[in-house]
Symmetry: C2
Subunit: 267 residues, 2 copies
């Protein structure tokens, strides 16, 4: 069953101009694969190609209840245990994390869910989703679009579908969201930070969502930092400010993820 360097897991990510990670959702899967120490190869897909490719591969839809965009990434293809067997396709970052934990279990492979507290990890991700993610999403989407982060075909598709979603040009969305940076967005992140403060003093109990040990829920935070950084460019001021917010908690998580990336299992 185990993926190898010769027969790695295929990880379907979103294309960009430079084909480097930028999407918060797929980044969670990338980090899960690295954390587990699993060899993987990235296939970057342009937005309009997702549905046709996934249908062709026979991968399940990631959002089966969304009639508009049922096929999404991340998707992984885990090589079959049979020499000529069809790979196992898994869609949706949460489903993928659960699949990886089951298929490549601790202690042989590092855990995505310390203490086996999988439901609690999911509830934390939901709590961070309601606060940190929701507050940042409109600004990040609008920056990704207006700064032309994606490949040409993906960009055209993204602009068209997102402007339809917002009902206005993304350049307008940036203008509306900018003043929220130090107010609503800051405040939502502070709420998330305050929840995590319940764990105790960071220097004693660790900065991570589950305390001492990095876990799947932290990858959501890392995805948000990446999203903003790609959206405004690495010289932007906001993503650097964010790393300082809430006692530097988000910076500590980001630092740990940067260190993980130096040990990437991408082949």
């Amino acid at each position: 069953m185990a993926a190898t360097k010769e027969s790695p897991i295929i990880f379907y990510d979103l294309a960009s101009q430079k084909n480097t990670p930028w999407s918060p959702n797929t980044y969670k899967t990338r980090l899960a694969l690295i954390h587990k120490g699993l060899p993987f190869r990235v296939e970057y897909i342009s937005y309009p190609d997702i549905a046709p490719l996934m249908k062709k591969l026979g991968a399940p839809p990631g959002s089966p209840n969304s009639s508009k965009f049922p096929y999404t990434v991340p998707v992984i293809a885990d090589p079959s245990p049979e020499p000529e067997g069809k790979p196992i396709y898994v869609s949706d970052s949460w489903e993928i994390a659960q699949y990886l934990e089951r298929t490549y279990p601790p202690p042989q492979y590092p855990t995505l869910f310390p203490y086996g507290a999988i439901a609690a990890n999911r509830a934390m991700a939901t709590a961070l989703g309601r606060t940190a993610y929701n507050a940042l999403a409109d600004l990040a989407i609008a920056l990704i679009g207006t700064n032309h982060v994606l490949d040409e075909r993906g960009h055209e598709y993204f602009m068209r579908t997102r402007e339809e979603m917002f009902g206005k040009p993304l350049v307008e969305v940036v203008k509306e969201e900018e003043p929220k940076w130090s107010t609503e967005i800051r405040s939502a992140w502070a709420t998330a930070g305050k929840l995590l403060d319940a764990n105790g003093p960071m220097d004693q109990v660790g900065p991570f969502v589950m305390g001492k040990h990095i876990s799947n829920a932290d990858f959501l935070i890392a995805g948000l930092v990446l999203w903003l950084r790609c959206g405004e460019g690495s010289e932007g001021h906001r993503w650097k400010e964010l790393l300082e917010w809430d006692g530097g908690r988000w910076g500590e998580i980001w630092k740990a993820v940067e260190e993980m990336e130096t040990r990437s299992t991408e082949v």
Copy 2:
């Protein structure tokens, strides 16, 4: 600092006809005290006496942002470390749990938050609140009222304030909620059960919210079982059905809590 049998923690709970526990919120605190092994004495307060008593004692409001009912129970009075000192008053079941964990820390006292995952425990409680608690609350409140569970003065106060809240007689609320038992209510609990199923097979990883170890978040579930049981009477069919729902998970949690009650530290 440590409470003793001679100088126990005073736990302010809600009065009832028989002065036995019935409120889901205060029950969480009762169970936290028992789980920690801390001697406590219960003072049952009638609803209309809460605010005047707490003001007299100098206890902080439990819901400072609620202009209508700022003073609530549970409240605890932890004896002062000084012989003649004023006790430390703590209000609100979440604040109390955090206070107890800090003041009577593991490993000397059993932990309310396994693995130090305090924020995750809180997020689980929020997730259970949005599903299990919210779905059951109207029915449970209406049953507590219409079946006259409370002491006379408390009952009068409860009926008046709750009927004002619902804008209709509680007997009407019971009628409206009854058909939801097997539909909305059942479905919301199934959602909570499905989240907990993510932890893995119950017989291997344990039935509790955090898996193997009972924790503060489980006391919320126990409080809901108690609430319904007191509301419909111990011969009622619903609370017994509930124990069977979702693979018997709620029944397993309730059984553990019943076992805890046999080791009660109430003095």
